[in-house]
Amino acid sequence: MSIAATPVHPSDHPRRRFTGALAVLAQRREYGLLVLVAAIVLFTGLANPAFFSPGNVQDTLVSFVPEAIVSCGMLLVIATGEIDISVGGLMSLLAAMLGLLASPTHANMPVWLVIMLTLLAGIAVGFLNGILVAVAGIPSIIVTLGMYTALPAVTNMLMHGQYVTDVPPALRFWGSGTFLTIPISLWTTAVVALCAMFLAWRTALGRRIFAVGSNPHAARLAGVSIVWTKIFVFTLSGFLVGIATLVTATQLSVIEPGTGQSLALAVVTCVVVGGASISGGRGTIPGALLGVCLLGLVRGVLIFLKLGQHAIYWEHAIQGALILAAVLVDHLASRRLGGEGHA
């Protein structure tokens, strides 16, 4: 049984074939997004050439890093038909751990150990989510909503209302250092995205993740372990939050209790705008990354277009409208194509 907005019965929708640009745009959400992102970038760049300066390109890309890394994990979770809204709370917890363990005035542990422990903590929370969802059978939105509520509060209690201001330089290297003049965080993102794409497209496990979301009953009959697949994606999501924390929390000299708290809904939105089906089975990593770019661009674009002091008050309204527009265009295109009528 499905709660999808419209249970589509095979014979409920006609299938007609359209060709041409519309068909391409509709079949591959990525192309449509790419066109949109390119248009926004081009428009802003023409209005204000400073937008194209290498410095700004780099800064802008770096600003996408946490959403981009976390969205890779989120996409695979959503591909299995689950959701993980604990990522924001988890990032705040991991950032606090990172800071408190490494800070000379707190635990003062060696940096390698701190990184290991933080990643392990991410994995552990992800694994716990996975167990609660796949073994205990609690709907994932409940499990991760509970985590979403509880984890930031745990972080606050750990931090005692203070920032960690003495993050050791060896740790800060991950957030602010460069390799071949390109920031470490961008390298990391590229590696994570490539690995995730490889996982999704070129490994048996990746195909099974999508199979579980596409038709769990069939997946079980094909001998795919739904329990382990789901535990895996949640664990991976936790691990990627750890990686994202490592390269973003260390970008700044202070670590605050609230790091990344608004991440969860933002990432889910990006992934969905990127073409993933919230009911599972469909979605791609490039699509999710383009979704991150589209929604992340709004903030910078509003500054570069110099629309005046009040423009910034419309940031959320513009983002919301973009999401609705993406959903609507997708829907209209797929309706004309006679495919699935819901995102």
């Binding site: 019965h9 048996a204 990746g206 195909r207 997946a219 495919g339």
Partner: protein, 526 residues
């Protein structure tokens, strides 16, 4: 794990089941079932719904562990630890529900769970998957575009992918659970050709179907299950259809295929003129009179269900008129259609017909709830009385009306769907595949019911892919082909061949002995 070897000795069965028993919470799904399967035979498994066929199939498929009994493969006792173990032993299952991953492409579907890999299992060997998928589909005579997602394909094409999947496992035993339930006659013919081909290759096929004609056309031997016990196994030549039905049901049945009563029509209840929806159907005109049963035949995908849904208001047509009870009916309004006395029992019982977790009573009152709710408050007593009346009228077999609908057998669920609408005493009843997946006993009861309703003056429009059913029940037969009405026949004197001629794009060759189309050139039906 015991492997089934190709050179199994002639006298020894590939698979032997001895005393298999399985029960759920005190209910015996299987009790002491024995079955032998030999290489190169097509073995039909018959039985009413609930007789234990599914449990037996799942036992062989490894997804159920029997409580008692033994499975011998090539004479060696074996226990399956799961689906994979069964697959490894060479048993492939094509399940009744389409087991496809709609978002994934053909190679993914074929190799899911057993993907060829390289680099220590890390890397998916896509090239090999594509190559082997192409070869498999080629050998089945169904070359398909490999990279398309399976969800966008026709039901028959999906079925082919399922068969390719089973074949890719190099299986020596293939279990097919009602594979033709959603196939058109022509697709069925293709399927049969492939099944026979497999038999020649020495594969043992366990074939499950409710369709008598298929069972007798295809099988070498027939086994009958009743109430979880094996009634017996027979060579095809040793048994005829009435005998088989008797064995399945355990009693004599009223002949299901008795010629239908002919009614004198008293003016049209429904008149459809020039109904068109681009891409679905075109220029449909038909009438149904009071007390008349109009059959609608055609291949799956011919657009029959879409026409029915459009008349009922579930789909909005582009143009054309529907006149009902002497007045035009607005397009796309189910409520108007219902209010004026129309009812539609859809083909997909479980998804469109019933709310399975809700009770029998709640399902029966679903469409007539307002009639038992004066002042907008549902009266428990009235609702129960309504449900009790329908249960009695339709002889629904259920222990209590407060049981969930999903606890009922397929036939009884179908009766619930009918009862839901009959509670409104409609003037026109549209039936879409009223007996699909219904066992013979319930089938006969449903036929009787339809006849009785028509005799009482109800207009009935019946869509069915079961040709004997259409021929025996209908007063008039409409045939649809590729979205158009290709012809009309009076039921009296019409033969299956007449109907098929109109339904097929090109005249097919029909094997008169089996009623099965043996070859069907012509264009692809999308």
């Amino acid at each position: 794990m015991t492997e089934i070897t190709k050179d199994a000795p002639a006298g020894q069965p590939l698979i032997r089941l001895v005393g298999i028993a399985k029960s759920y919470g005190g209910v015996h799904a299987l009790s002491g079932v024995n079955l032998d399967l030999f290489a190169g035979e097509i073995h039909s498994l018959c039985g009413e719904n609930g007789a234990g066929k599914s449990t037996l199939i799942k036992t062989l498929g490894g997804s159920i562990k029997p409580d008692r009994g033994e499975i011998f493969i090539n004479g060696r006792p074996t226990a399956f630890s799961g689906v994979r173990a069964s697959e490894a032993a060479g048993i492939g299952v094509i399940h009744q529900e389409l087991v496809a991953f709609p978002h994934l492409d053909i190679p993914d579907n074929i190799f899911m769970g057993r993907e060829p890999r390289r680099l220590a299992g890390l890397y998916l060997d896509r090239r090999r998957m594509l190559r082997e998928s192409a070869a498999l589909l080629e050998s089945l005579g169904e070359p398909l575009e490999l990279r398309r997602s399976v969800g966008g394909m026709s039901v028959a094409q999906q079925q082919m992918v399922g068969i390719a999947r089973a074949l890719s496992q190099q299986c020596r035993v293939l279990i097919m659970d009602e594979p033709t339930a959603s196939l058109s006659e022509r697709e069925t013919a293709t399927l049969f050709r492939m099944v026979r081909q497999l038999r020649q290759r020495g594969v043992a096929i366990l074939y499950v179907s409710h369709r008598m004609d298929e069972i007798f056309a295809l099988s070498d031997r027939i086994s009958v299950l009743r109430n979880g016990a094996m009634v017996g196994t027979f060579a095809r030549a040793d048994i005829d259809q009435p005998q088989l039905i008797r064995l399945m049901v355990g009693r004599e049945l009223a002949q299901a295929e008795a010629p239908g009563r002919r009614h004198a029509s008293t003016g049209p209840v429904l008149a459809v003129r020039g109904l068109t929806k681009a891409g679905f159907y075109e220029d449909i005109s038909l009438t149904v009179g009071a007390g008349e049963i109009v059959g609608m035949a055609g291949l799956i995908g011919a657009g029959r269900s879409d026409v029915a849904k459009s008349i009922f208001g579930l789909i909005k047509p582009d143009s054309g008129d529907v006149e009902f009870m002497g007045a035009p009916l607005p397009h796309g309004s189910v409520r108007q259609a219902m209010r004026r006395g129309m009812a539609l029992a859809p083909e997909d019982r479980q998804h469109a017909g019933l709310v399975l977790p809700m009770t029998v009573e709640q399902n029966l009152s679903m469409a007539a709830l307002k009639s038992v709710s004066p002042w907008g408050i549902t009266r428990k007593k009235k609702e129960r009385a309504l449900a009790a009346r329908m249960v009695k009228d339709l002889s629904v077999k259920t222990a209590a009306v407060t049981l969930p609908a999903r606890s009922l057998s397929g036939g009884n669920q179908q009766k619930l769907v009918l009862g839901k609408w009959l509670a409104r005493t409609p003037k026109l009843l549209i039936l879409d595949e009223p007996t699909r997946g219904v066992d013979v006993g319930a089938k006969a009861e449903i036929y009787q019911l339809i006849r009785r309703l028509a005799a009482d003056g109800m207009a009935v429009l019946m869509i069915s892919s079961d040709l004997p059913e259409v021929l025996s029940l209908s007063d008039r037969i409409l045939v649809m082909r590729q979205g158009r009405i290709s012809g009309e026949l009076p039921a009296a004197g019409a033969t299956q061949e007449d109907v098929l001629k109109m339904a097929m794009p090109d005249a097919p060759q029909v094997d008169p002995a089996t009623n099965i189309i043996t070859d069907s050139p012509g264009e692809e039906i999308v």
